[in-house]
Amino acid sequence: MSKQAIILTVNGVARQALVEPNQTLTSLLRDELGLTGTKHGCGVGDCGCCTVILDGETVNSCLVLAMQAQGREVTTIEGLAKGAELHPLQQAFVDAGAIQCGFCTPGMILSAKALLDHTPQPTREEITKGLSGNLCRCTGYEKIVEAVQDAAGKMSEA
């Protein structure tokens, strides 16, 4: 089967791409659209590094076919900042030192964003559950939880 044209919205902008049937959404974003903020980690849905928001819900983009994104809306880490101004979650991760090697960070922040979209003032347990699909191998979870708490506080003040 040859490549097929798909149209989707990425970070608010309509995009078009030619994709193979066996191409994942991770590969579409990274290799076709140049959005390398989405990381390719385990490739089997365990680590969460490839997390993106698809029609309002987080997914492991390594387990979504590019063709399944036809007509849908994707938010990646590149879609969070407004110009030079970081999203409150991004700023909170920087401020709390919640970033070490940084590989898990885009997925962590998108999972945290989806959590705060539904639960603006989460408990500590809700945060750890909300981030349970994202692994950090630098083991900096404590600061990540602090960063989400901090961002939740600042976002509710705003």
């Binding site: 089997v44 969460g48 387990l63 076919l65």
Partner: protein
């Protein structure tokens, strides 16, 4: 990790999907949430020539309530089930909420969990305890299959290659009915259960006597299993600790665990006893809560 080559089709109706499946036979695999299928393709455990994306089939979507029964669409995601709603029994919501991670729950489907049929499947156990039926559509029409008898082995069910699981039918949630779900794993999320137990209790109008009970056990047999001994230790008896303990003993006796890298058979049998007891207490509290709320 790369996916092998395959062709991709996205049929727009159930008849179209069934006819494509009929033409392609074993070469085609239906794709729902992809959280198991795409992983198995990447790990080279499966190599279908065609993926048939079921995502466009309206027949597999939405939940309906009718005449004391509910019909749940096979494409319901675990997330949607976990968030409950009038058609979703509490027990099913608990199981769905215990599955995988948020990202996995946002993709994994009711139908996918039933077709993948893993021995510890978080959605299969509650459905088995709830006495649910699967609707299988094939070239010669639809058939309803009770889940007690549907599972045949790990990843193996009575569903034939030309059939698509379209919906699940079960009793609508009602007062005096409660469920309990207990999952034991080595960690609290993204885990395949070491042992899991789903218990379903229906009380008589007196709020004390067990009218109907089902206890489903996971990860202790080649497929999700019911414990008939636990059910008969409960039905017609007062819903209290004495018969809960008898039911837990019966469940432990009937479990068929094996030793594997995740735990020993003896430990699993012990945990069946403990988790059955806890699941029954939880089910009773939910059933009584329901009944009081109604009164």
């Amino acid at each position: 990790m790369l996916l092998p080559s395959f062709d991709y089709y996205r049929p727009q109706s159930l008849p179209e999907a069934l006819s494509l499946l009929g033409e392609m036979g074993e070469d085609a695999r239906p794709l729902a949430g992809g959280t198991d299928l795409l992983v198995n393709l990447k790990l080279k455990k499966l190599a279908p020539k065609v993926l048939l994306d079921l995502g466009g089939l309206e027949e597999l979507k939405g939940n309906r309530a009718d005449d004391g029964l509910v019909s749940l669409g096979a494409l319901d995601t675990a997330s949607r089930l976990a968030s409950g709603g009038p058609e979703v029994p509490g027990l099913l919501a608990m199981g769905a909420g215990a599955l995988g991670s948020p990202q996995v729950r946002n993709r994994a489907t009711l139908g996918g969990n039933l077709v993948t049929a893993r021995p510890a499947a978080d959605i299969c156990l509650p459905l088995l305890a709830l006495g649910a039926k699967a609707v299988l559509a094939g070239p010669n029409g639809e058939r309803e299959v009770a889940l007690d008898g549907y599972f045949k082995g790990p990843g193996y069910t009575v569903k034939e290659a030309g059939e698509i699981l379209t919906r699940v039918i079960l009793d609508a949630p009602r007062p005096g009915v409660g469920g309990g779900y207990q999952k034991l794993g080595l960690r609290q999320a993204m885990e395949i259960a070491l042992v899991n137990v789903a218990a379903h209790l229906e009380l008589e109008d007196d709020g004390k006597t067990v009218a109907l009970a089902r206890v489903a056990l996971g990860a202790v047999a080649p497929f999700p299993m019911l414990s008939p001994g636990a059910a008969s230790a409960l039905i017609g008896k007062p819903a209290q600790e004495t018969c809960f303990s008898e039911a837990a003993e019966a469940a432990a006796a009937e479990a068929r665990p094996i030793d594997d890298h995740r735990g020993s058979a003896a430990y699993r049998r012990d945990m069946v006893r403990t988790l059955t007891l806890r699941a029954l207490r939880q089910a009773l509290s939910q059933a009584q809560g329901n009944q009081e709320a109604q009164a």
